[in-house]
Amino acid sequence: MLEIRNLHVAIEEGTKKLLNGLNLTIRDGEVAAIMGPNGSGKSTLSYVIAGKEDYKVLDGEILLDGKNLLEMEPDERAAAGVFLAFQYPLEIPGVATMTFLKAALNAQRKGRGEDELTTPDFMRRVKAGAEKLGIPQDMLKRGLNVGFSGGEKKRTEILQMALLKPSIGILDETDSGLDIDALKIVSEGVNALRSAKRSFLVITHYQRLLNYIVPDTVHIMLKGKIVRTGGKELALELEANGYSDYVTNAAA
């Protein structure tokens, strides 16, 4: 379970708050979607949960299964079960995707005090995961994300998530830059990972993605906080009416 309480965040003290008293709880197995206009703080939230150093947490707490994430390094949070699928995955030249996957998986296992996977066991898991996502074997030998298309990058992010088996998967605008076929593949990949123990935080601008990854809850975010929470029908309502009602209300 992910619990965020009264979270206040800025780039540094005294500057404009990017998150302004945000509260959010995601139960085990729940798929929560966050929607909101540009600049409402959606990506900031995902970075703060994952522990990016560019932000200063002024107040509040983030607990994952009762553990205080704010006291942990980014790699410790990863080992504790946080996975962030990046909107713009980074390129690591010269490091084969396969090599990267193995290093990451073993680092997390080590962080949790588990043994490393044997190479055949690891290879089997990667092959199975890659096949489901339509990732060809030769792509795994290329430098991570180097020369990958937008769709290939996103599929690789989902492959990483499938291998790392997080307790919360955060998808930061995973649908951006995807054509409809790629969107289907990625969504199927995510849906296959849904389980009673694993929760998801799906950040998106558009309702379209939520046709494929159907959320349990939808939260509307504005000016650094959640302004409305509802079921999956809320997304449809937004699609029809836009954010203008909320923006006007918030301004009033």
């Binding site: 150093e53 980014p74 690591i92 990451a104 680092a107």
Partner: protein, 489 residues
């Protein structure tokens, strides 16, 4: 990347000081008086019982050196070196000329054991190492032992110290010594000619493929002692040899001088592959101490279709001044230079290569990867030239620099010179930084800051690491990570 985990563990084992070869060995030594003059040159020659011609050669070099000036063009800064403040000869006292390993002082064998250099042939044969490597171990000024001599002899290969070669193979030495790097070549090379103390000699007869890797391991132990080694490798027609060189030194507050000369000669259809892992003491975190490394390495592709390939991994030394070069004299000859130069702390590196195209259809390839961290400065300096007769000369150069942090510098200084219109030279260069975003991405996947840096750096140097013999590649990978310890976070 198997080594990543090992690397990181190794890094963690280290304390504040990362240099794990910094211990000294206590030995009784036979030293020349401090300072440099004609008497010292005579002393060294006499210690080695050299023939008159060798002494004359040294004295001639010494007199020329007296008239020369230190080169100033490199991008390195250091206080003026007082050449009279060093010892130019130091040798372990016992067993001046050991016949077998049993005659070697156990303290020295212990040193090499600590360094992980296998000298005992039976251990190697018993499978301690994966493949057989013949080793020549040079301790301060003398070669202490050369392994696998007998086995090499069967193949007709000569692998011995240069001192022995001067006595036992004077014709070869006379013919080739100074034929690639002339006595007057440069200040440090000329100094080396006058006072060189030991080094390795390799001769591969016509048509022979050397049955194992040859390796020399250089160790400076004595305080205030300069090491001036001299290496000469001759590959006769159609022969092949792969040679590895490794270096370490104890940790000392004073700067120590190392000025080596390496000459390679490849005749028709011969190939020499020369790999170096240089890990001299780089100085402490404040930039105190460390080796001044002024080295002249040059290969002569004298015969048609010959090939010389230099691969270097440079992680040590306070100052590195080194340009392993190829003279592409024979038609269709090929020169290669693959380099990884890592600098951290206050290290200064000015390194690169020269590819001198003289023959027709000669080709050369330069891949240089510089990594700077801390407050270090890392310069690639390379020259590619085509003589007017070098029809169809081809060169490809790729120079990449990676910066870690805000306080280091990377510099690229290429010189291209063509006197033949048919020559094609290509030069590519990039400078990049490990970005915070890249690090965060890796850390989000579970890697620590150090593991993430090691992974990104290993990716950056991959093209060059692939050129090294297997055992060395793993070692080099570890070394690079250790050298960069403390550069992030």
């Amino acid at each position: 990347m198997v080594a990543v985990k090992e690397t990181v563990e190794q890094v963690k084992q280290l304390d504040v000081d990362q240099y794990r070869y910094g211990f000294t060995t206590d030995l009784e030594v036979d030293k020349a008086p401090k300072g440099l003059n004609e008497e010292i040159v005579r002393f060294i020659s006499a210690k080695k019982s050299e023939p008159q011609w060798m002494l004359d050669w040294r004295l001639d070099a010494y007199r020329r050196w007296k008239t020369m000036d230190e080169p100033q063009w490199a991008r390195v800064l250091y206080p003026k070196i007082d050449f009279n403040d060093s010892y130019y000869y130091a040798a372990p006292k016992k067993n001046a000329a050991p016949k077998t390993l049993d005659d070697v002082d156990p303290a020295i064998l212990d040193t090499y054991k600590k360094l992980g250099i296998p000298l005992r042939e039976q251990e190697i044969l018993a499978g301690v190492q994966m493949s057989k490597v013949a080793v020549d171990a040079v301790f301060d000024s003398v070669s202490v032992v050369t392994t696998f001599k007998e086995e090499l002899k069967k193949a007709g290969v000569i692998f011995c110290s240069i001192s022995e070669a001067i006595k036992d193979h004077p014709d070869l030495v006379k013919k080739y010594l100074g034929s690639v790097v002339p006595v007057t070549d440069n200040y440090y090379a000329t100094l080396n000619c006058a006072v060189f103390t030991d080094g390795s000699f390799v001769y591969i007869p016509e048509g022979v493929r050397c049955p194992m890797e040859l390796s020399t391991y250089f160790r400076i132990n004595e305080k205030n002692t300069g090491q001036f080694e001299r290496t000469l490798i001759l590959a006769e027609k159609g022969s092949y040899v792969s040679y590895l060189e490794g270096c370490t030194a104890p940790q000392r507050d004073e700067n120590q001088l190392h000025a080596a000369v390496v000459e390679l000669v490849a005749l028709d259809d011969a190939e020499i592959k020369y790999s170096t892992v240089q890990n001299w003491y780089p100085g402490d975190a404040e930039g105190k101490g460390g080796i001044y490394n002024f080295v002249t390495k040059r290969g002569d592709c004298r015969g048609a279709n010959s090939k010389i390939s230099w691969t270097q991994v440079e992680t040590g030394s306070a100052i590195t001044w080194k340009y392993p070069s190829c003279i592409l004299r024979g038609d269709n000859s090929r020169g290669e230079f693959y380099s990884i130069a890592v600098s951290n702390g206050y290290q200064q590196v000015d390194s690169g290569t020269k590819m001198i195209h003289l023959g027709k259809n000669t080709t050369s390839r330069i891949i240089s990867k510089g990594i700077s961290a801390g407050k270090s400065q890392n310069t690639y300096r390379g020259q590619v030239s085509a003589h007017r007769k070098a029809t169809n000369a081809r060169n490809f150069t790729n120079c990449d620099s990676l910066l870690i942090g805000e306080t280091c510098g990377a510099h690229t200084v290429p010189y291209l010179e063509s006197k033949n219109a048919s020559a094609v030279f290509e030069h590519e260069a990039t400078t990049s930084k490990i970005s915070e975003d890249q690090l965060f991405y890796c850390r989000q996947r579970g890697l620590s800051a150090e593991e993430a840096t090691a992974l990104i750096v290993n990716g950056f140097v991959k093209d060059v690491l692939q050129q090294l013999p297997m055992e060395f590649a793993v070692e080099a990978q570890k070394l690079i990570s250790i050298s960069l310890e403390g550069s992030v976070g």
